[in-house]
């Protein structure tokens, strides 16, 4: 890439902005903070807490599927006294509803967009903060009403009366208050929770878009932005256009429930012996509106992870990203195609088969940019010097798991196969490969890669690798087997898989999956201990422990209020690893060609703690 020509190389307003003396008190510094990094950490830690809540719900789901209707020792006596220790179906339906809701709305989206979006965007484009810091603060604090409503929906009506319409919340089950045990007040709280998450994300999206467009440092052109910022920028656009539809649909559903409107409730329904007052609404309308957001949401949850992984693979392979521009273009085309594939969730809903076929075309087309990204990640590794550090292992893990998720998606895009496996465990296995395998491994790669920048310390490499190995092994054991269950015909969302002889031979497989899931849950405690323990015990890191190029590594670790001592100037692309112009195997974006000549690489970096990796 060519060097910068925009501004004179000698210009550096050093010293002028140096005096970011922080006079804020504790509350304004750490609680109601407008600093993007503190807000990022607030998202980060609340997502961490909810990750464990969602994980525990998953463990309970697995208990029921492996030992249906059996008395659960100890826990059963505490929770299910009225049913002699057996898990009632009302409880089970609440479990899978809340597991999906918590993991999607309170873990993956806030962690990737709220935490990494907030942390990385200003640092990587060389801005002191977001464009709208107060809006940013509001976007976090609007998560708390959502936390409150989701938590209330668990407890206020009792655990057996939680929201029980699935995370997709299909009406009429979710629209008629008497339709299901938990579709009374709990379902209303659920809708309010989703609405608040939606408003919060909306504010974040506007902020991210504005910041990326307006606040880039001098010399930071669009095609000099790191791929993680590109991914977050594209995701913000995707979210800004898709999310209002879900929020509007949520308000319509709320109106159906509370003031008796009839958007989604057809005429003459008899639910539990009572006639409803619906007039001519359509339950399919909700499905269209819901998936118009929730399919793009899949890309909202995977694109930032792709960006993080691109960054991590390039840095830890010491090579520029293979095909930087095609990587950007493929993300843009995934974003565009992501808007016109929602119908593939509805092949069995009774839509016109010709329309269904149009959705097949757009869906299989998405496999092309996805394939480009996958092969470019491999191309980045070729000829590099690969440091098998914890973030790199998670990134490589992401690629392999994302491939399985993506290939599984091809089965589901082809209509007749989807008709067979729709609403079976095949789907469950597929989207867990994308969300748990893809997004979560992307999060792990991001957490371990930027941990020194966030907290100024290194995480334990040893325990990081143990966590990776265990999670990778148990994750495949859990979700690969689920494809098997689904192809054999086991439906999802059934509280009792033993009703038919046809499924009885799958019980041993279900037990196997449960043990694997327990192992995966256990591995996350290692992650938690490593993350929290390294805050105190981790080795202090310098500015640039990974010898990376992008601007966040110019700021000190942890990055101070205002991020940079002076406005950084950008001279080149973000992935100039092993450039012939550099004396080292990296060439930071902020060094002018004149500075490179006198540059002593690694002068303000602490020693890198990794020792060449696992092998």
């Amino acid at each position: 890439m060519t060097t910068l020509v925009t501004s004179e190389e000698t210009y550096r307003p050093a010293g002028e902005h140096h005096a970011h003396v922080d006079k804020r008190g504790f509350i304004s510094k750490y609680v109601f903070s407008t600093d993007h990094k503190i807000i990022a950490m607030q998202f980060y830690f609340s997502s961490l807490v909810w990750l464990f809540v969602g994980g525990l719900l998953a463990m309970l789901i697995r208990i029921q599927l492996a030992w249906p209707w059996e008395r659960i020792p100890w826990l059963g006596e505490k929770l299910f006294a009225s049913t002699a220790g057996q898990m009632p179906p009302e409880f089970y339906t609440m479990l899978f509803t809340m597991h999906g809701t918590v993991m999607i709305f309170l873990v993956i989206i806030p962690w990737l967009l709220g935490a990494f979006g907030n942390f990385l965007i200003p640092l990587q484009i060389g801005a002191p903060d977001m464009a709208f810091p107060r809006l940013n603060m509001l976007s976090y604090w609007l998560m708390w009403p959502a936390f409150f409503f989701f938590a209330s929906s668990f407890v206020l009506q009792g655990l057996n009366n939680g929201p029980a319409a699935g995370w997709t919340s299909y009406p009429p089950l979710s629209a008629v208050p008497s339709a299901a045990p938990g579709s009374g007040p709990a379902q209303t709280y659920w809708i309010l929770g989703v609405t608040f998450v939606g408003i919060s994300s909306m504010m974040g999206s506007i902020n991210y878009m504005t910041t990326v467009i307006n606040c880039r440092a001098p010399g930071m052109t669009f095609f000099r932005m790191p791929l993680s910022t590109w991914a977050l920028f594209i995701t913000a656009i995707l979210q800004a256009f898709a999310l209002p539809v879900l929020t509007a649909a949520g308000l319509m559903l709320l109106a159906d429930r509370v003031i008796g409107s009839s958007f989604f409730v057809p005429e003459d329904l008899w639910i539990n012996g009572e006639q409803t007052k619906g007039v001519g609404g359509s339950p399919l309308l909700w499905q269209h509106l819901f998936w118009f957001y929730s399919h793009p949401a899949v890309y909202i949850m995977i694109l930032p992870a792709m960006g993080i992984v691109s960054e991590v693979i390039a840095t830890h392979s010491r090579k520029p990203v293979f095909g930087y521009r095609p990587m950007v273009y493929s993300m843009i085309s995934i974003c565009a195609l992501g808007f016109i594939v929602w119908g593939h969730h509805m092949y069995t809903s009774g839509m016109n088969p010709v329309l269904g076929t149009a959705f097949v075309v757009s869906t299989v087309l998405i496999s092309v940019p996805s394939a480009i990204k996958t092969f470019n990640w491999l191309g980045t590794m070729v000829g590099g010097t690969i440091y098998l550090t914890t973030p790199m292992l998670h990134a490589v893990g992401f690629v392999s798991l994302f491939i399985i998720g993506g290939l599984g998606g091809i089965f589901l895009a082809v209509t007749p196969i989807d008709v067979q496996v729709h609403d079976t465990y095949f789907i469950v296995g597929h989207f867990h490969y994308v969300l748990a395998g893809g997004s979560l491994f992307g999060i792990f790669a991001g957490v371990t890669h930027w941990y020194p920048k966030m907290f100024g310390r290194m995480m334990s490499e040893f325990w990081g690798k143990v966590h990776f190995a265990m999670t990778f092994f148990f994750m495949n054991g859990t979700f690969l087997a689920m494809h098997q269950l689904g192809a054999a015909g086991m439906p999802r969302r059934i509280a009792d898989p033993t009703q038919y002889e046809f499924l009885l031979h799958l019980i041993p497989l279900n037990k196997f999956i449960t043990f694997m899931a327990f192992g995966m849950g256990l591995a996350q405690t290692i992650f938690l201990i490593n993350l929290l323990g390294s805050l105190v015990l981790g080795k202090r890191s310098g500015r640039n422990p990974w010898h990376a190029n992008s601007l966040e590594w110019l700021a000190s670790s942890p990055a101070p209020h205002g991020n940079f001592e002076s406005v950084p100037l950008v001279y080149r692309g973000p992935h100039e690893f092993s450039s012939p112009e550099s004396p080292a195997d990296y060439l930071p974006q902020w060094l002018s060609p004149a500075e490179v000549k006198h540059w002593r690489p690694g002068e303000d970096d602490s020693p890198v703690s990794n020792k060449g990796g696992l092998l």
């Binding site: 088969p353 299989v364 491999l378 290939l407 007749p416 196969i417 067979q420 015909g489 439906p491 046809f502």
Partner: protein, 356 residues
């Protein structure tokens, strides 16, 4: 090949089987074979790419790992290749074409209803399936309360069962009375949501007799996993016997009063005749308390309301016109002895109820 070979045999050891188990073993409908062929085509393409990519990635991780500190990258290593990038855009695009084509043709087969097929109505309601035959004349349902879930025989005996004749195209016209359901027969590789407020259709043809499982696969509430039914594929003779049984009112409603109530509600009587004692506007007299009373006519005569009077009033309503009502009734829609028996018993029973 292993999955296909083992999938054709459902009786192998389940522990061995579950690992190779892909689709359910039997292929019964005309499109099952096509679906399975497309499935295995995609499966092997995916396995090939997965193994190739994983092998390459593992190789790169080992081949290019940092072997000693300070090792530098070959500065001439590729960072971009138009040829490679074009190749890995075009080859996947070509591979998805046959998948799309087979998927499209199979889907069109699934969703195009055959002409002259045998029609069965399906109604889903939490948590039960009801099947209706012959324009709603015969209805088969089951009560889940009667099912003993620990007793295999009870599950088969007491669940609702849909009977169909073998080697005949069957079209199901489906509707839900409450929430969304989905009608799924794994061995037929077909599934269709059942939606309140609209009708959805599903067709299949069974080429073998036997008993198969029907699931609800759209989550419909806490007892969703118990919303099951049996599909019984009969020979034509067995199916005819079944059809006669379910459309025979005496068998469906052995109690004449219940039979009469069913007829009153389904044959149009209830449009003009009330059961609360007051005549309907522009309608006929109420049935409540009418049995055994002396009724007077337009021509000044009167008669006692008994069996013969009711039968005559249905078959030839103009024979005796009730005072104050006029000639408004055309012929009643009853013609068989067991139907008259039912409606008479029903009207007589209304008196018993009125006394209570």
């Amino acid at each position: 090949m292993l999955p296909i070979l083992l999938a054709s045999d459902s009786n192998t050891d389940p522990w061995l089987n579950w690992f190779w188990y892909q689709m359910p073993p039997q292929q019964l409908s005309p499109f099952a074979k096509g679906v399975d062929a497309t499935y295995y085509f995609i499966y092997y393409v995916c396995v090939f790419f997965f193994v190739a990519i994983m092998a390459a990635m593992t190789y790169f991780c080992i081949r290019y790992r940092r072997k000693h500190p300070g090792e530098m990258v070959d500065k001439n290593a590729p960072t971009h290749s138009s040829f490679l990038e074009a190749a890995w855009s075009i080859i996947p695009s070509i591979l998805v074409v046959p998948m799309f084509y087979w998927g499209f043709t199979d889907f069109m087969d699934m969703r195009s209803m055959p002409d002259g097929a045998y029609n069965i109505g399906v109604t889903g309601q939490k948590w039960n399936w009801t099947f209706s035959y012959g324009n709603g004349k015969g209805i088969v349902g089951g009560k889940l309360e009667n099912v003993d879930w620990h007793d295999k025989k009870s599950i088969i005996r007491d669940l609702p069962a849909m009977h169909v004749p073998v080697n005949t195209d069957i079209v199901l016209t489906m509707n839900s009375k409450d929430v969304l359901h989905s009608f799924y027969i794994p061995v037929f590789r077909t599934k269709q949501d059942v939606v309140p407020g609209r009708y959805t259709k599903l067709w299949f043809r069974a080429d073998r007799t036997g008993q198969y499982d029907i699931f609800c696969t759209e989550y419909c509430g806490d007892k969703h996993s118990e919303m099951l039914a049996q599909l019984v594929v009969d020979t034509q003779e067995d199916f005819d016997k079944f059809y006669n049984r379910v459309t025979n009112l005496v068998i469906l409603f052995p109690d004449p009063v219940k039979r009469g109530e069913y007829l009153f509600n389904t044959r149009g009587c209830s449009q003009c005749h009330s059961l609360d004692g007051s005549p309907k506007a522009n309608g006929g007299p109420s049935f409540l308390g009418a049995w055994g009373t002396e009724v007077s006519f337009e021509d000044g005569t009167s008669a006692k309301m008994d069996e013969n009077y009711i039968r005559e009033s249905v078959v030839n309503p103009q024979a005796k016109i009730r005072k104050g009502f006029g000639k408004i009734m055309s012929v009643g829609l009853l013609s068989k002895d067991e139907e008259f028996e039912g409606i008479i018993a029903f009207i007589r029973d209304l008196n018993e109820k009125a006394k209570k």
